[in-house]
């Protein structure tokens, strides 16, 4: 049992910035937990406060049931991997990996056997005598992980461990990391600003903004039902379309948007109410207009530009002056200028309050 309980946590920097601003959070034992948010939202600060590298100004942090809020970092039983890995350049890989043990004055023989074993787990055999400077980025990342694991913390904290790797390596490292965490079953908190990474890796995701929690949930929940426009815009490999709209008639279940309309479970939202309509490009269907009128609510527009996404394309459609993104299978990519019609299934169309940006409550309830 090495869960993390955070209660009313706030971290204020000496310059007055409230980088973490009253946060409640529980990470379960063995969970792979992602902290996600844009740059400057306080992810790193939260992680560092858990580690004890920053002082909590308010609230408490408990690890494995014990209050560690005022404990030295070294006594909290946490291990951390820094964004720049912080490998000691003057130590060999094996010295780096076993440094946490050396600090605790573990005998050299034990240390070298730990180094062997950990290196084995992370496929670092044969690199043990090298210096960090002689390793590739991916290898360095694994050494940093190995060192964190060798320190036998109850909790593993990772601050953007993948962001220094190049695109292809990042994908591989991602899979590797996920498997490793599964195998070790160690509670892991993972900071990233890349939503794809968070979705791919985490059991649960906390989306932060300005030091506060905006949404907490499984990747699926967060992806499918962002609770506000901020999260909606932030999650997804292509940004969600967030369009000005109005409820056509509360019972008909449709919203007017961009010169057309889309089906939506409007719930108790009154007719004529102005809302923000959120729909992911992946959930919109594009049909070439000449194929005849489609039944039900739809939006007409004209293709502007298309971006290849591999097996699919992201097509930007100009609908009465509003640009709407739609994902289409690669073979269906229309030429720029083609007139098209967009439709969407009702349950994929989300309505947000125009002012607050919150998912409209009734609607949220209807789905949950």
């Amino acid at each position: 049992m090495a869960g993390i309980d955070i209660e009313g946590l706030a971290t204020v920097y000496p310059n007055g910035v409230r980088a973490v601003d009253g946060l409640d959070l529980t990470v379960a034992d063995g969970e792979f937990f992602a902290l996600l948010g844009p740059s400057g939202c306080g992810k790193t600060t939260l992680l560092r406060t858990i580690a004890g590298l920053e002082n909590a100004s308010e609230g408490s942090v408990r690890i494995d049931g014990a209050d560690v809020t005022r404990l030295e970092p070294g006594k909290r039983g946490v291990a951390m991997v820094f964004q720049d890995y912080a490998l000691f350049p003057h130590m060999s890989v094996s010295e780096n990996i076993t440094y946490p043990l050396k600090v605790r004055r573990v005998a050299a023989a034990t240390r070298s056997s730990v180094a062997e074993r950990t290196a084995g787990e992370l496929s670092l055999q044969g690199l043990l005598e090298r210096r960090p400077g002689q390793l590739s980025g991916g290898q360095q990342q694994r050494v940093a992980l190995a060192r964190a694991i060798a320190s036998e913390g109850k909790v593993l904290l990772l601050d953007e461990p993948l962001s220094n790797l190049d695109a292809r390596l990042r994908l591989e490292a991602r899979t590797f990391l996920k498997k490793l965490q599964r195998d070790l079953g160690i509670t892991t908190v993972f900071v990233t600003h890349d939503q794809a990474e968070a979705l791919a890796l985490a059991d649960r995701i906390a989306v932060m903004q300005s030091g506060q929690l905006r949404q907490l949930g499984s990747p699926r929940e967060v992806f499918a039902r962002p609770v506000n426009t901020f999260v909606a815009n932030f999650i997804g490999s292509t940004p969600m379309n967030l369009l000005d709209g109005a409820v056509v008639a509360s019972d008909s279940g449709a919203v007017s948007v961009a010169g057309g309309s889309l089906p939506a479970s409007t719930g108790s939202v009154p007719t004529g109410a102005e809302v923000t309509v959120g729909v992911r490009p992946e959930y919109l269907t594009l049909s070439v207009a000449s194929a005849g009128d489609v039944a039900g609510p739809a939006i007409r527009g004209e293709v502007v530009v298309a971006e290849n996404l591999g097996t699919s394309s992201l097509v930007s459609v100009d609908c009465a002056g509003t640009l709407i993104g739609v994902t289409v299978p690669e073979e269906d990519e229309p030429e720029p200028g083609t007139p098209v019609v967009l439709t969407a299934p009702e349950q994929r169309v989300l309505l947000y309050d125009k002012e607050s940006g919150e998912l409209l409550a009734r609607q949220a309830a209807a789905v949950a």
Partner: protein, 300 residues
């Protein structure tokens, strides 16, 4: 929790968990030594500066406090004015212009030079810097010597007594030779901090070498230029090695303030007066440093 109760203040706020208390402990040995062997004598020197203390004679037994008499004397002392002027020349010529420009030129050109060339040139420049000053003095006396000197042999002319006829020029050359290494090293590392992409950007738009230096390089290393200038100016202003070459002569023509202080203290034995001049030199240094800090702060 066994053992000590949980601390109330939480872990230390700095990266190493040092805490202000231990940090002070770390600074203490250095401060103690500096206090004892630098600040304390300095304060004492300032005190001596308001007395007519001499090491021998009647005033050695009972020095009396003369107040600011030493300072008013300095203000009317033509030799002190001369020394001040020469020091300014010396600093301007050898530090601000000589070492700075040569050091920068070396750092700039050696950046792209072949490693062998680079190592040789830098090695020589550094050698000039690390050789003991007494040895260096002999080297330069030999270089400038009137009869058998290397310079005259090179120029194929005999009998020019460089140290007599152009003492300040010689000293400026000498000090440039001696101190360029520091500027070179400092600028080398400063230039490494200029992103190559910025230089290349300038090149891409067709900027000339001078335009690149002015628009790209200097704004980047402005802080370095100022720090370097400050350090070498202070060091040069307080440099005693001119004494080893010319002893301040001929006829005070190369008597910079430190040499003058030495001459007043040792030849004249007037410790009170020499201490007062030392303090004036300190004030001048302070002025330069403040000026520099202002310039540095103006950096946007």
């Amino acid at each position: 929790m066994p053992g000590r109760p949980a601390r109330v203040r939480g872990p230390a706020q700095d990266v190493a968990g040092l805490g202000v208390g231990r940090a002070l402990g770390f600074v203490a040995p250095a401060l103690l030594l500096i206090g004892a062997f630098l600040v304390f004598p300095a304060v004492w020197t300032i005190y001596i500066g308001i007395t007519n203390y001499r090491l021998t004679g009647v005033e050695a037994v009972s020095p009396s406090i003369v107040g600011l008499a030493n300072y008013t004397k300095a203000l009317n002392d033509a030799l002190f004015h001369n020394a001040l002027w020469l020091t300014c020349l010396f600093v301007l010529g050898s530090a601000i212009v000589g070492q700075n420009i040569l050091g920068f030129a070396l750092a700039w050109t050696m950046r792209r030079a072949r490693p062998a060339v680079r190592r040789t040139v830098e090695g020589l420049v550094l050698l000039a810097w690390i050789l003991p000053s007494t040895v260096v003095a002999y080297l330069w006396i030999a270089f400038f010597d009137r009869d058998t000197g290397t310079l005259n042999s090179i120029l194929g002319q005999q009998g020019t007594a460089w140290l007599i006829e152009y003492p300040m020029v010689c000293l400026i050359l000498f000090n440039t030779w001696r101190g360029t290494a520091f500027s070179m090293m400092l600028y080398s590392s400063a230039l490494q901090a200029v992103p190559p992409s910025q230089l290349e950007s300038a090149r891409m738009v067709g900027a000339s070498g001078w335009q690149t230096l002015r628009d790209v390089v200097f704004p980047h290393i402005r802080g370095h230029v100022l720090t370097n200038t400050l350090l070498i100016s202070l060091w040069t202003a307080n440099d005693f090695s001119p004494f080893l070459l010319t002893k301040g002569g001929p006829n005070h023509e190369s008597e910079t303030v430190p040499v003058y202080i030495y001459n007043v203290a040792l030849q004249g034995g007037e410790l009170g007066y020499s201490s007062a001049i030392s303090f004036l030199l300190l004030l001048a240094n302070l002025l330069v440093a403040l000026l520099y800090l202002r310039l540095l702060r103006r950096r946007s």
